[in-house]
C-alpha cells in the first residue's frame, strides 16, 4: 500500500491505496465521487475524463499514485458555490445529453477544449477535439451546439438561449 495525497475538487485528500489503483477507481470507490464513469477498457470512450493539473486526462488510464500532489477536478467539482458551470448549463440548454453516462467526461473534455482553444469554436474544431469522447445517444449534433454555446458563455458569462 502507498500513501497518496492529492487535491480533489479543492479539498486535500489522503488515502492508503494499492499502487494498482487507477485514478478512476480512487475517485469512484475511495472518494465515492461516482460522477466519473468508466465506459471502456482501452482508453477510448472518454466517460472517465477529469482534469489533472488543469489538463483533461482519462482517469481510467492513470494510476492514482502517479497523481500524488496533483490538483484534480471532477464533474462534481465543476459547479462553484451552487452555480452550474456555463458548460453544464449549455449542455442542459441544448439537450446535449440523453442517457447521461458519457456526459461528465464530455463536459470535462469540453471545458478543456475551451481552455486550450479559446471561447470561439467552430463546428469543425469542436468535432475534431471531441475525438476522445464517445456518445451513443445524441449523434453529437446537440453536443457540438452546446460546446460552442458553453465556450461563448465562458467568455461572456451568459448562456445563449438555444434556437428553437
Amino acid at each position: 500500500m502507498t500513501e497518496v495525497t492529492m487535491t480533489v475538487n479543492g479539498e486535500s485528500v489522503s488515502a492508503d491505496i494499492a499502487p494498482r489503483t487507477l485514478l478512476s477507481q480512487f475517485l469512484r470507490e475511495h472518494l465515492r465521487l461516482t460522477g466519473t464513469h468508466v465506459g471502456c477498457d482501452t482508453s477510448q470512450c472518454g466517460a472517465c475524463v477529469v482534469h489533472v493539473d488543469g489538463r483533461a486526462v482519462k482517469s481510467c488510464t492513470a494510476l492514482a499514485v502517479s497523481c500524488a500532489g496533483s490538483d484534480v477536478v471532477t464533474i462534481e467539482g465543476l459547479a462553484k458555490d451552487g452555480q452550474l458551470h456555463p458548460m453544464q448549463e449549455a449542455f442542459r440548454e441544448h439537450h446535449a445529453l440523453q442517457c447521461g453516462y458519457c456526459t461528465p467526461g464530455m463536459i470535462m473534455a469540453a471545458v478543456d477544449i475551451v481552455n486550450r482553444k479559446g471561447t470561439e469554436l467552430d463546428e469543425r474544431t469542436i468535432r475534431e477535439e471531441l475525438e476522445g469522447n464517445i456518445c451513443r445517444c445524441t449523434g453529437y449534433h446537440n453536443i457540438v451546439k452546446a460546446v460552442a454555446a458553453g465556450a461563448a458563455a465562458m467568455s461572456s458569462g451568459e448562456i445563449r438561449q438555444a434556437a428553437e
Partner: protein, 266 residues
C-alpha cells in the same frame, strides 16, 4: 491489474538503478499503452518505475540546428510548443494527430518510441528526420534504434532520455487513421534535410516502421509530388488486418507519400 510495486525516482540514474536487477520492471512514461495492457492482465511487471518525477527528461529546446526533445515531453507539449513550431512545424502536426486530446496530455514521445508500435506515428517522424535517440548510456541513430515490430535497440535496463532532431529544410507527415482506433493505418513522413531525403512509413509494414528507399531516391532527384509517380509499393511487404488488406495499404502508402510531399513542399 495484477499487484505491483511502485517507485517514482527523481533522476534517470535512480530509475536505471531500479531497472538493473533484471526482474522485469517496467518504465511508466505516459502509460497510455502500458496501463490498458496491465488492466487486461496482459502484462504483469513486478515493479512499475514511474518516470513522471524525473525533471531531466522534460523540456524542449532548440540547440543550433537541432531540436532537442526530452523523452518525457507529452504529445500535447510538443503539439503546442512554439520551439517545435518554429523548428519543425510538421512535428507539431504529428503530435496533434496522436490519440485524442486526453491521451496527448499523458502520452510521451519517449514512451511511444520505446514501445515502437507498428502503427504509432512518432517512429515514422523520427526515422524520417534522421533523429538521434539518446539513452542513459549512448546515442543511437533512428536507423539503429527501430528494429521491427515492437522492438528497439534499447536494452532491458536502458532508458531513452532525449530525442535530437536535425532541423530539416522540409518535413511533413500524412496520416490515414484507422477509423476505429485512430492509430495510423498508414502514415508517411518525408523529410529533406542534412541527411538528404528520407521517407519513413508506419502502420503499413509487416515489421513496423520502415524507410521507403525508392521514394527517397526519386525525391532526392526532385522533391516534388510528381517525382513519386510510377513508384509502386510492394503489397507483399504490407500488413493485413480486418480494416485494410495489403493492396489497399500499399496504395495508401503511395497516396500518403504524395500528400506528405505536397505538404512539405508547400
Amino acid at each position: 491489474m495484477y499487484a505491483f510495486d511502485y517507485q517514482r525516482p527523481g533522476s534517470v540514474s535512480e530509475a536505471a538503478a531500479l531497472l538493473a536487477d533484471g526482474s522485469g520492471a517496467k518504465l511508466l512514461a505516459g502509460g497510455q499503452t502500458l496501463i490498458p495492457t496491465m488492466k487486461q492482465r496482459l502484462a504483469s511487471p513486478p515493479l512499475v518505475v514511474d518516470l513522471g518525477g524525473v525533471a531531466e527528461l522534460k523540456g524542449i529546446d532548440r540547440a543550433g540546428d537541432r531540436l532537442e526533445i526530452g523523452a518525457m515531453a507529452t504529445h500535447a507539449e510538443i503539439a503546442e510548443s512554439p520551439v517545435v513550431a518554429s523548428a519543425i512545424p510538421g512535428l507539431c502536426q504529428v503530435a496533434e494527430g496522436i490519440g485524442d486530446p486526453h491521451v496527448r496530455n499523458r502520452g510521451t514521445i519517449g514512451g511511444s518510441l520505446a514501445n515502437n508500435d507498428p502503427a504509432a506515428d512518432y517512429p515514422a517522424a523520427v526515422l524520417a528526420l534522421g533523429a538521434t535517440l539518446h539513452t542513459n548510456r549512448r546515442g543511437l541513430s533512428a536507423d539503429e534504434f527501430f528494429q521491427g515490430l515492437f522492438t528497439t535497440a534499447l536494452e532491458e535496463d536502458e532508458i531513452l532520455t532525449r530525442i535530437s532532431c536535425p532541423v530539416p529544410e522540409r518535413f511533413a507527415y500524412a496520416k490515414f487513421p484507422n477509423p476505429a482506433s485512430r492509430y495510423a493505418m498508414v502514415g508517411v513522413a518525408v523529410a529533406k534535410g542534412p541527411q538528404g531525403v528520407r521517407v519513413a512509413v508506419t502502420g503499413a509494414g509487416q515489421n513496423g516502421v520502415f524507410r521507403a528507399t525508392d521514394m527517397e531516391a526519386a525525391l532526392a532527384n526532385a522533391f516534388t509530388p510528381d517525382a513519386l509517380k510510377g513508384i509502386n509499393v510492394d503489397p507483399s511487404l504490407m500488413s493485413t488486418d480486418i480494416h485494410a488488406d495489403a493492396p489497399y495499404r500499399a496504395h495508401l502508402v503511395a497516396v500518403m507519400a504524395r500528400r506528405a510531399v505536397e505538404a512539405a513542399a508547400a
